[in-house]
């Protein structure tokens, strides 16, 4: 996980140096948005489904304590060992201790954004455990020593030719071969050996059913199943918000999730794990890591409804043109921008500003999180808590006092127009960020207020 001091605007500007690549990235993700549109527009009850899912999740958030205990009890009765982790550190330690108890130092992992959030790979590496991410996209970024740039399409920022080169370097595929089918085959062969030899598998959790104590993992490649079915120890890691009350609610969420994510009607595999198979141990680690703090923030609590479909990434005109790494957090995009400040206001103070507040994210969200409204609200919180740059603060104070006084406003407007007209170099220069790619509007000879005074007020 890269962690640097650069903010979104700086990282996005660097991403934009290669404009052709930005176009390619934008079009690739827009294609996914269009696939989503096609898949949802053939479901006449789509909006009702979203509303239902939203209400189920609201109910979950209001009764989280009880549902979690119910889930724990049922899971234990099914023979699953349940662990509770207050934060990322405890989560990583629990996973490590399970591995230690079983004398395991080489594991496979599949599809878990929570372990990315907790930086589990780095932690396990530091204690001598080798982790192989088995999902193709995750494996690619892992080989490249990068973080995923997208929560559903982790290597969407990589071109197939670059993947061919990476595989040539690490997996010994022939140089210059970038045929996707060939490369996928090579990855499969490479991973098959890992599946067969590693005794522990980590997976994520998409839905944990309180009623039954089962959990559901949604994947397209089937690696979660491969890992879980072959390993002696299966560890499933989940955030506390993954709970749904009843099994029948899956009928709502499974219809929404993949249509929103990739435009498929459903994931290839929706695997239900109810109990360990004979001879296997099954663990669930339930993680808080700031979620209960977010639950306590009235304006932001419903961000915990998120089912991690990434529809808000694909539709976001800013994400598509700035790339996932510009968000410098495990979960990028609009949803990441309202989740991250809860984890660290100082580190992520820039993210709620990485948006035009266009509102498209809230419209595609399958659980109706008011993402753009929360971006606006986070801005207010961050400024009030002192995370605004001083220059911005001064500019805003000046603007506020000018605009609160009609006399000063009229004077400033006149001055501004006069300066643009007579001294255009004062505005048309490199210090003016607007001017770099855009011309300034031509100053009119008079404002509307002046025109009105001349042409209308006399009549009255």
């Amino acid at each position: 996980m890269e962690h640097n001091n650069k903010d979104h605007a700086t990282l996005a500007a660097a991403f934009n140096v290669d404009e052709a690549r930005v176009d390619w990235h934008d079009e690739t993700l827009w294609f996914v948005r269009q696939k989503r549109d096609k898949a949802v527009h053939i479901v006449p009850e789509w909006e009702a489904l979203r509303e239902t899912a939203s209400q189920i999740k609201n109910n979950v958030l209001s009764n989280l304590h009880d549902y979690l205990l119910q889930f724990e009890k049922n899971a234990q009765q099914n023979g699953i060992t349940v662990h509770w982790a207050a934060d990322d550190k405890e989560h990583n330690q629990i996973v490590h201790s399970i591995l230690q108890q079983n004398n395991i130092n080489r594991i496979v992992k599949s599809k878990s954004m929570l372990t990315e959030e907790c930086h589990l790979n780095n932690y396990l590496k530091s204690v001598g455990v080798d982790v192989v991410d088995t999902d193709l996209g995750e494996r690619i970024v892992q080989l490249a020593d990068e973080a995923p740039s997208h929560i559903v399409l982790p290597c969407i920022h990589w071109k197939k030719e670059e993947i061919g080169e990476l595989f040539h370097q690490y997996l010994g595929t022939p140089k210059g071969n970038a045929d996707p089918q060939f490369l996928t085959g090579a990855a499969r062969e490479h991973l098959r050996e890992k599946f067969l030899t590693r005794r522990a598998a980590i997976t994520g959790v998409n839905f944990a059913v309180a009623e039954t104590g089962e959990f559901v993992v949604c994947t397209n490649e089937g690696n979660a199943d491969m890992g879980a079915h072959l390993a002696d120890v299966h560890i499933a890691c989940m955030g506390i918000e993954k709970i749904i009350p009843l099994q029948k609610h899956l009928g709502v969420f499974l219809r929404l999730l993949t249509r929103s994510a990739t435009g498929q009607p459903i994931t290839t595999y929706s695997s239900h794990f109810l109990q360990p198979r004979k001879g296997q141990t099954l663990h669930i680690v339930i993680v808080d890591n700031g979620r209960s703090r977010q639950l306590g923030r009235e304006d932001f609590r419903n961000s915990l409804k998120c089912i991690r479909c990434a529809a808000c990434f694909n539709t976001c005109p800013v994400y598509r043109r700035s790339g996932g790494h510009s968000y410098h957090t495990a979960i990028a995009g609009p949803i990441g921008s309202i989740l991250a400040p809860n984890l660290d206001m100082k580190d992520y103070a820039d993210l709620p500003f990485a948006s035009t507040l266009c509102g498209s994210c809230s419209n595609v969200c399958p659980v109706k999180i008011d993402i753009h409204q929360q971006l606006y609200k986070w801005r207010q919180v961050l400024v009030k808590d002192g995370y605004a740059p001083t220059a911005k603060k001064i500019a805003m104070q000046g603007m506020a006092s000018t605009l609160a006084s009609p006399g000063i406003y009229r004077f400033a407007g006149k001055m501004g127009r006069w300066v643009i007209k007579h001294f255009p170099f004062m505005v048309n220069n490199k210090l003016n960020a607007w001017y770099k790619h855009r011309d300034m509007p031509a100053p009119p000879k008079e404002s509307f207020g002046e025109w009105y005074k001349k042409n209308r007020e006399k009549k009255g």
């Binding site: 979104h8 500007a13 991403f15 043109r321 035009t356 498209s360 911005k392 805003m396 605009l403 509307f448």
Partner: protein, 245 residues
């Protein structure tokens, strides 16, 4: 019917012709229009930057200017939405609440309040509509491509009443232009790229005029068109609806 004309600050200063067209159009349709001369700004530039707490002065001024009018009409979806969602006045909250309910963006006022069915206007050109996000997704003046719901467009309906207008369709009907208030300078690279891409979609489909119900988006796209020395121009929808070409 008495309507207060609420002119956004940057329209007042840089695009007076848009305010004049709005005034003339409303008067043509029989509305008695009042322009409170002491208006400045709705406060949105501060609020969207996280400084909502600095907008009290703007809010009080706004309430003072517009409290006693039947309707408040504004040729900008974004400024209208800001007032609708965020106007408060601790000295007179009832007046602020009244204004929030009576403030209308121009095209929704024409369609929903005046119930305009025909216009005496002509503009014989290829025109493409930019859906400004705050008018569209905030005020819902047009249906949004993300939702599974019946299509409609209030500005589109009005444009169809203008003789000679040939409406051009776009590849991405409602993608943001990247202006975003202070976003356009603090996130300059992404903002400008969004603007370039948006303008390209209009140009590729053979438009002559890009129109919108928000001048701020048009100002952004105009800046890019001019830099590219393009022949395509921007025109606020009020100018087209008031046109007699």
């Amino acid at each position: 019917m008495k309507a207060g004309l609420f002119i956004p600050c940057y329209v007042d200063q840089f695009y007076p012709q848009v305010a004049i067209a709005t005034l003339q159009l409303l008067e043509k349709l029989g509305v008695e229009v009042v322009y409170p001369p002491n208006q400045t700004c709705c406060g949105q530039p501060m609020a969207n930057s996280g400084f909502e707490h600095l907008t009290k002065g703007c809010d009080e001024l706004f309430v003072k200017n517009f409290a006693n009018l039947d309707y408040i009409v504004c040729p900008s979806g974004s400024c209208t939405l800001h007032i609708k969602e965020h106007l408060h006045d601790e000295h007179d909250e009832a007046a602020a609440t009244g204004i929030r309910k009576r403030v209308y963006e121009l095209t929704e006022f024409l369609v929903d309040v005046l119930k305009v069915e025909k216009l005496d206007a002509s503009f014989p050109h290829k025109v493409s509509m930019h859906q400004s996000c705050h008018g569209q997704r905030g005020l819902k003046i047009s249906q949004m491509s993300e939702l599974v719901a019946a299509p409609f467009s209030k500005p589109g309906k009005l444009l169809q009443m203008v003789k000679g207008v040939e409406l051009v369709q776009l590849s991405r009907p409602d993608e943001c232009c990247g202006f975003g208030g202070t976003f356009c300078v603090f996130e300059e690279a992404v903002s400008a790229k969004m603007g370039k891409d948006r303008v390209a979609d209009h140009i590729d489909h053979g438009t002559e005029f890009i129109t919108a119900a928000d001048m701020s988006c048009l100002m952004h796209m105009e800046g890019i068109l001019k830099r590219q020395k393009s022949k395509v121009e921007v025109k606020h929808i009020a100018e087209i609806l008031n046109s007699q070409l």
